[in-house]
């Protein structure tokens, strides 16, 4: 099996064959999910803890469902309301949890790199469910799976990522993943929402939607991350919608069969026209949610296999 990771901390450390391994398995789980018996037993006997230091509904529910469908014992900890408020450090929280012998730790944290730090201190598999403005690997994987199912391939596509790139961990993970799979990536957005040094990432940059969308196969919209902004980056939401919101007119610049994606939750009327979001011929937003569960099942399955192999090796040595 070509999946060699102990943790899933980001796309940066994944090789293309590992990405394909995850997606292939996720495809099978997507079929399982559509059947009457949704249960697998890949995580049977294992304990999965979801630690969310940032509020989340969708991602947390997706991880919880994925774990439960594969037979894990799943526990949710809403850390935002918890010990951190009492002054406990991240490391202490990690050590406390570690003492409960979890097998899979799913972590979201507002600081970039916090999940890497945590992974050094625990002896279980850690999955990054989003750290600061750094990475959100399972989102990129589910986007990749959705694209592959809709387009029949995951290479040599023209893919536009639009909007608030600077504050988006989804954009970073997607740029890394789609770049590794050899696609042509365009970033479209106001220059205030472009990260510094982005011209060195091997992507094309546009600040005009129609020019950027011309001939695209895939249009990925990003949410305007108002909560991560520390000041005014755009003059107003209505000007933003006028220039960068996806509507039928701007979308017409893309290929006729271009698909529209959004990681959710959407700000309708800010970055995307509600009619486009609901257009079943163009929008794959609901499928993204569906693939989210499948990709997370696959990722946890693969990490659990490696975890069991590591433990067996250790047992054999002892």
């Amino acid at each position: 099996m070509s999946f060699r990771q102990n943790h899933l901390l980001g796309i940066e450390t994944l090789a293309p064959d590992e990405i394909v391994t995850i997606l292939d398995l996720a495809d099978r789980y997507a079929e399982l999910e559509r059947g009457d018996n949704k249960h697998g037993d890949a995580l049977k006997g294992l304990t999965q803890i979801n630690m969310f230091f940032e509020a989340s509904t969708r991602t947390q529910a997706s991880f919880e469902l994925a774990g439960k469908r594969l037979g894990a014992d799943v526990m949710n900890m809403a850390m935002a309301a918890s010990s951190l408020k009492k002054g406990e450090t991240l490391i202490d929280t990690a050590l406390t949890l570690n003492a409960m012998h979890p097998d899979l730790l799913v972590v979201r944290h507002p600081h970039s790199g916090a999940v890497n730090l945590l992974a050094e201190k625990v002896n279980c598999a850690v999955l990054n469910a989003g750290d600061g403005k750094h990475e959100h690997p399972t989102q990129a994987l589910l986007d990749a799976l959705t694209i592959r199912r809709a387009k029949g391939r995951l290479h040599r596509l023209n893919i536009a990522i639009c909007g608030d790139i600077a504050h988006s961990r989804v954009a970073r993970s997607n740029i890394l993943l789609l770049g590794k799979m050899e696609n042509r990536i365009r970033l479209i957005g106001p220059p205030t929402l472009m990260p510094a040094g982005v011209s060195e990432w091997g992507v094309e940059m546009y600040d005009d939607m129609q020019a950027g969308l011309a001939g695209c196969d895939v249009v990925m919209m990003l949410r305007l991350q108002k909560e991560r902004m520390d000041g005014a980056f755009i003059p107003s939401e209505r000007e933003y919608y006028h220039r960068f919101g996806l509507d039928a007119e701007k979308l017409s610049a893309a290929k006729d069969d271009a698909i529209v994606m959004h990681p959710g939750p959407m700000n309708r009327g800010v970055e995307i026209d509600g009619n486009i979001a609901d257009d079943i011929n163009r929008s794959v937003i609901q499928e993204q949610v569906e693939m989210g569960v499948a990709v997370r099942m696959a990722a946890m399955d693969l990490l659990a296999q490696n975890l069991r192999a590591r433990r067996a090796e250790k047992g054999a040595q002892a």
């Binding site: 940066e12 450090t89 991240l90 490391i91 944290h109 600081h111 970039s112 790199g113 916090a114 890497n116 730090l117 750290d131 600061g132 403005k133 750094h134 990475e135 600077a166 961990r169 970073r172 990260p195 510094a196 040094g197 982005v198 060195e200 990432w201 520390d230």
Partner: protein
């Protein structure tokens, strides 16, 4: 005790020479020196076996945790670290808790330092009360009590009117002001330098331009007031033209840089390694190279360690939440020798920036091998290689970015006032 050093490579930053010769220490002073061999004798004769004898390092801007954070560094531990690192004079920062902003606190620091440390410790004092940037401290009293310069450290004075008044007042006293050139608003909350690396890692970043903006503001006020001004750390190429203009215009301006910005770059942060989080943040490699060149031509005058002890707790945090700063007293010399071995700087030029220039600029003893100068000396082997183990450091805090690094150059012995304060075991 009289000491005769024989067979030593005498590193003389004033003359710019490094010749083989001898040097005699008598009554705490350098009494005589010469080339080749000598018939002089003394109570103790040290055959240096062609190791280097140089004026001890004068390190500007060292943070010691007293008062307030003795668990991070005390005068005793800092003194031991300095002695082992070849630093014979420390000029301390005022960013303690409480800050050194009254003659009484300054007096406490001087007394504690004298009791606990074998090396000279001379304090800077805060420029404004509580380092809040509103009212100037009692600059006159503090000067009388022994403050060698005035600085609010990395808290940039936002109010230019307050700063200009401080400068006018300081000028009348002949006092030196040390600034931290940085635009305080652009750099707020930043953990790394903006660019490809910062964006990939998703860390809050500051443009190198913020340093130039801070420097230009300070230099304009220096031109207006005529005060003596030292920029504590210049770290980006964008700052250099402004600095050059000011010097060419004859302003009383000098500039320093930390050894970390001369030997490391932003990529060293790697996977969120918080021991590499310093202030200002590490820069691009092009900037580092430009700084080495600026040092070579004398545009940058002083190399310091920016010794900032932090305990494990304040560093074992997510990168943006972790404390800034690195210890440097013991690694200053071996790290600086990378510039000798790697970038071809002569030892004499290196000691100009490490010893002579800071001693002159801050008007403190040391920095000279001339007859009649104080006998603050170090004996070192510039070539001996070793791998740094952070737990072997004398500092209480072990937050060095050079842990596990291969370094070259080792202090064999240190002398302050002609007294041996450190001697490396012959192992």
């Amino acid at each position: 005790m009289n000491i005769l050093f024989k067979n030593a490579r005498l590193i003389d930053p004033e003359a710019g020479t490094e010749d083989l010769g001898w040097l005699l220490v008598k009554d705490r002073m350098i009494a005589a020196r010469g080339a080749g061999d000598t018939t002089q004798n003394a109570e103790r004769v040290i055959d240096c076996a062609e190791a280097c004898l140089a004026p001890g390092l004068v390190d500007i801007g060292v943070k010691i945790g007293e008062p307030g954070e003795r668990h991070k560094e005390s005068f005793r531990s800092a003194g031991a670290a300095a002695a082992a690192g070849g630093v014979t004079t420390i000029v301390t920062r005022a960013d303690t808790t409480p800050p050194i902003d009254t003659p009484e606190t300054l007096e406490f620091v001087r007394r504690r330092a004298q009791d606990a440390s074998p090396v000279r410790i001379l304090p800077m004092a805060a420029l404004t009360k509580c380092r809040e940037g509103r009212e100037m401290t009692e600059l006159g009293f503090l000067l009388d009590a022994g403050a060698v310069a005035f600085s609010d450290g990395d808290l940039v004075l936002r109010d230019s009117k307050v700063l200009s008044r401080c400068m006018v007042y300081a000028r009348s006293l002949g006092a030196l002001i040390v600034g931290h050139p940085q635009d305080p608003i652009l750099s707020e909350g930043a953990a790394v330098t903006s660019g490809k690396f910062a964006s990939l890692k998703g860390l809050p970043a500051v443009s190198p331009m913020a340093e130039r903006m801070g420097l230009e503001r300070d230099l304009a006020l220096v031109e207006m007031t005529g005060v003596a001004y030292h920029a504590d750390q210049i770290s980006t190429a964008q700052s250099l033209p402004a600095l050059r203009r000011a010097k060419e215009a004859g302003l009383n301006v000098t500039a320093g840089i930390s050894i970390h910005h001369l030997t490391l770059n932003e990529f060293d942060v790697g996977d969120y390694r918080t021991f590499f989080k310093v202030k200002p943040p590490l820069r691009a490699e092009e900037d580092r190279v430009a700084m080495v060149e600026a040092l070579r031509e004398g545009l940058i005058d002083i190399i310091c360690s920016m010794h900032t002890p932090q305990d494990e707790e304040s560093k074992r945090l997510p990168y943006e939440a972790a404390a800034s700063g690195a210890v440097g007293l013991e690694t200053l010399l071996p790290a600086a020798l990378r510039l000798h071995h790697g970038a071809g700087l002569s030892l004499a030029d290196l000691f100009k920036a490490l010893s002579l220039n800071p001693a002159r600029r801050f008007n403190v003893p040391g920095g000279s091998l001339a007859e009649g100068a104080v006998a603050d000396l170090i004996l070192f082997d510039p070539n001996r290689p070793f791998v740094l183990d952070r737990f072997a450091l004398h500092s209480k805090s072990k937050n060095t970015p050079f842990d596990g690094a291969r370094l070259q150059g080792m202090v064999l012995a240190s002398f302050v006032n002609g007294q041996c304060i450190y001697e490396r075991n012959a192992s």
